[in-house]
C-alpha cells in the first residue's frame, strides 16, 4: 500500500487511520477475529476442521454467485454458509463431535465431493460475471480495501449474534464435544447443540471470508485455536488465548499489509502460522521438561499435583 513507514508506531498508526478503508478493515478484522477465535476453539476441540473448511470454501461460490446476480457478496457468503451448515447438520452423523474411533468416514466423503463441486460452481459464476480477474483473487485470498460501512455493520450484527449464541451454548457444547455419550445421558440435546454449533461455524466462516478470502479462512479459524490448545489445556484460558491470538494476528497482518505491497491474506496467514510454530516448539520443549521431571519424581507415586500441568 502506502510506503511511508516511519518506524514510529504512534505516527504510523495515525497515518494508517487517516484512510477510511483502513479504519473499516480494522473494524471488520476485529469483529471477525473475535468470532473466529472463539468459534475456532470449539471447532478444533470437536475435530470439525473439515466441516469448517467446507463451510469456508462454499462461501466462494456463494459470493461469486451473488456478485453475478448483482447482489452484495455479503449476502452470498452468509446465505450459503448458513445453508451449508444446516445441510451438514442434517447428514446422518449429524455433524457430531468427531470423537469416535470411526471418525467421519462416509460423511467426509459426501462433504468432500460437494466441496469440489462448490468450488467449480464458484469458478463458473466468476467467468459468467466476466468481472475483473482481481475480483476472483479478492474472493479467494482477501483484500484490505474492499470493506464498506454496510459490510462492517452486517459483520457486527452477525458477530454479536454469533457470540451471544455461543455464550448460551458454551457449557453443553463443551460437554457434548469432549464426552458426547455422557452429555446425552445427562439430557443435553446433543444433536441440537451440534446443529447450532455448525450454524455458528458457518457464520464465522462467512464473516472471516470477507477479510481473508475463502481459501485463507483457516488462518483465523484454525491456527489461533490450535496455537492456544498447544499452550494450555484449560478451556476458559484456551478460549481467551485463541481470541487474543486471532486479534493480534489480524491487527498486525492488516498493519503490515498497509505498509507493504503484499496482500493481507498472506500476512495474516503467515503470522498465524508463525504463532502456531512457536507454540508447537514451546509444547515440545515443555513436554520434554515435564517428562524429565516426572521421571525424576517417578518413585514417590503419591497424590502430588502434577507440576508440569499447564
Amino acid at each position: 500500500m502506502s510506503s511511508g513507514l516511519s518506524w514510529n508506531l504512534a505516527d504510523d498508526v495515525r497515518q494508517m487511520l487517516v484512510f477510511h478503508f483502513m479504519l473499516n478493515a480494522l473494524r471488520a478484522g476485529t469483529i471477525v477475529a473475535v468470532v473466529a477465535g472463539a468459534v475456532g476453539y470449539f471447532m478444533v476441540l470437536r475435530r470439525q476442521a473439515f466441516a469448517g473448511h467446507t463451510l469456508a470454501v462454499i462461501g466462494f461460490p456463494g459470493a461469486a454467485g451473488a456478485t453475478w446476480l448483482g447482489l452484495s457478496p455479503v449476502f452470498g457468503y452468509f446465505g450459503i454458509c448458513i445453508a451449508g451448515a444446516l445441510v451438514i447438520a442434517a447428514l446422518p452423523s449429524g455433524g457430531r463431535a468427531n470423537a469416535g474411533l470411526g471418525g467421519y468416514g462416509e460423511e467426509s466423503a459426501v462433504i468432500g465431493t460437494v466441496q469440489a463441486f462448490a468450488l467449480a460452481c464458484g469458478f463458473l459464476f466468476v467467468s459468467l460475471y466476466k468481472g475483473f480477474l482481481s475480483g476472483l483473487n479478492n474472493l479467494l485470498f482477501g483484500t484490505i480495501i474492499g470493506v464498506s460501512d454496510d459490510q462492517v455493520l452486517v459483520l457486527l450484527i452477525a458477530g454479536v449474534g454469533c457470540l451471544a449464541m455461543l455464550m448460551v451454548l458454551a457449557r453443553p457444547l463443551l460437554f457434548s464435544s469432549v464426552d458426547g455419550a455422557v452429555a446425552r445421558a445427562r439430557g443435553v440435546p446433543v444433536r441440537v447443540v451440534a446443529a447450532g454449533f455448525l450454524v455458528l461455524l458457518g457464520l464465522a466462516a462467512a464473516g472471516t471470508s470477507q477479510v481473508t478470502g475463502s481459501l485463507l479462512v483457516f488462518a483465523l479459524l484454525v491456527a489461533p485455536a490450535a496455537t492456544a490448545a498447544r499452550l494450555t489445556a484449560r478451556p476458559a484460558l484456551g478460549l481467551t488465548l485463541s481470541v487474543f491470538i486471532a486479534l493480534v494476528v489480524t491487527w498486525a497482518g492488516e498493519t503490515i499489509a498497509f505498509f507493504s505491497p503484499y496482500p493481507i491474506g498472506f500476512w495474516v496467514s503467515s503470522l498465524a502460522f508463525a504463532a502456531f510454530l512457536l507454540a508447537t516448539g514451546f509444547r515440545a520443549v515443555s513436554d520434554r521438561h515435564g517428562q524429565r521431571r516426572s521421571r525424576a519424581s517417578a518413585r514417590p507415586m503419591g497424590n502430588r499435583v502434577a507440576a508440569g500441568a499447564v
Binding site: L45, A99, P172, F175, D179, R186, G187, A233, M301
Partner: protein
C-alpha cells in the same frame, strides 16, 4: 406376599408423578418396610436395528444394592444400561427408574459408558471433565471461579473431593489425552460420582485397569454404594474382583436374563450353560468364589446365542 409382589405393590401404589413427590415417597416406602426399587424392569424387551436383543426381562434393583450384569459379548449388557438411562426405547414391557420413566431422573444417575479412550491430542484436563459432570448440562457460560463466590468454591471443592476419592489427584490437572487408560477410567468414575447420584450405571468400569486397581476400584464403588446407599448396576466380564461385594447378579444370555444371588447364579453349571464354554467355579480357603476359564476367550468362534 412374595418379595417381588411386594415390590410391585409398592411401585404401583406409590408411583410418583414428579421429582418432588418421588423424593418424599422414598422414606415413606422405607418406613413401611417395603423398599422401593431403584430400577425395575417388567417384561421389558429391547430391539436395536430391528432385531430383538433381549425380551421378557423382569428384575428389580433396590437402593444400596451392588448388582453386576454379566454375559458374553454382544448379548445386550450395554443395551440394558442404555434402556435404564432411556437412551434406547423399549419395544415392550415397562422400565421404571427412580420412580419414573427412564430418562426422567438422569440427573440423579452417574453414568460411565463403555470403553472410551480419549484421543492423545485431547487438550482438556481431567478436572474439567469431572467438572462437566457436575454442571456441564446447564446452558450458558460459567463465570470464572473467583467471580462466583461461595457457589463456585463449593463446586470446586466437590470436584477436588471426588477426584481425591478416586485417587486421581496426581494427574487430574494433566491433559486427559496424556493420561493412561486406567487413569482416564478413574477420572471418568469421578465424573460419574460428582453429582452424588442415587444410582450408578457403570459399563465395564474395570476395563483397562490392572489387577490391583481392579480390586481398589471395586472396593471404592462398594464403599460409595454402602456409605451413601447408592444402587450400583455394573457391567463386568471378570467377576472375580467384584465377588466379595456383589449383592445380586444379572446374567444375560440367549435373549433373556436371570437374576439371583452370586451363589445361585455363579455356579459351574449355570456359567457353562450361559457361555457355551467350560467354566469352573472354585471356592478358596476363605470361602470366596473364584471363576476360572475366561468367558470371553474365543475357544469357539461361534458366539453362544
Amino acid at each position: 406376599m412374595t418379595r417381588s409382589e411386594a415390590v410391585r405393590h409398592a411401585a404401583t401404589t406409590t408411583l410418583p408423578s414428579d421429582g418432588a413427590s418421588a423424593a418424599q415417597s422414598r422414606p415413606q416406602a422405607a418406613a413401611t418396610g417395603v423398599p422401593l426399587a431403584v430400577v425395575s424392569l417388567e417384561g421389558a424387551s429391547v430391539a436395536v436395528g430391528g432385531r430383538t436383543v433381549w425380551s421378557g426381562v423382569s428384575l428389580q434393583v433396590q437402593a444400596g444394592q451392588f448388582v453386576a450384569v454379566l454375559g458374553p459379548n454382544g448379548v445386550g449388557k450395554s443395551t440394558m444400561l442404555k434402556a435404564v438411562l432411556g437412551l434406547v426405547p423399549l419395544s415392550g414391557g415397562r422400565v421404571t427408574v427412580l420412580g419414573e420413566r427412564p430418562g426422567r431422573r438422569n440427573a440423579a444417575i452417574g453414568y460411565l459408558p463403555q470403553r472410551r479412550a480419549f484421543d492423545p491430542g485431547t487438550r482438556i484436563r481431567g478436572v474439567d471433565i469431572v467438572r462437566l459432570g457436575l454442571d456441564g448440562d446447564r446452558w450458558g457460560t460459567p463465570l470464572p471461579g473467583w467471580l462466583r463466590g461461595s457457589k463456585g468454591r463449593a463446586a470446586r471443592a466437590r470436584v477436588a473431593e471426588v477426584i481425591d476419592l478416586v485417587g486421581a489427584t496426581g494427574y487430574a490437572r494433566r491433559p486427559i489425552g496424556q493420561c493412561s487408560g486406567g487413569e482416564q477410567q478413574r477420572l471418568l468414575i469421578a465424573q460419574a460420582l460428582v453429582r452424588r447420584p442415587q444410582l450408578l450405571v457403570l459399563d465395564e468400569p474395570l476395563d483397562s485397569l490392572d489387577v490391583t486397581n481392579q480390586a481398589s476400584v471395586s472396593a471404592l464403588i462398594q464403599e460409595v454404594c454402602r456409605s451413601q446407599g447408592v444402587a450400583v448396576l455394573l457391567v463386568a466380564h471378570d467377576v472375580n474382583p467384584l465377588m466379595p461385594y456383589l449383592d445380586q447378579v444379572i446374567y444375560l444370555a440367549h435373549g433373556g436374563a436371570v437374576m439371583g444371588s452370586p451363589e445361585q447364579v455363579i455356579t459351574a453349571d449355570t456359567l457353562t450353560m450361559l457361555y457355551g464354554t467350560p467354566i469352573d467355579v472354585l471356592r478358596d480357603r476363605a470361602g470366596r468364589l473364584v471363576v476360572v476359564g475366561q468367558p470371553d476367550a474365543p475357544t469357539d468362534h461361534r458366539l453362544p446365542r
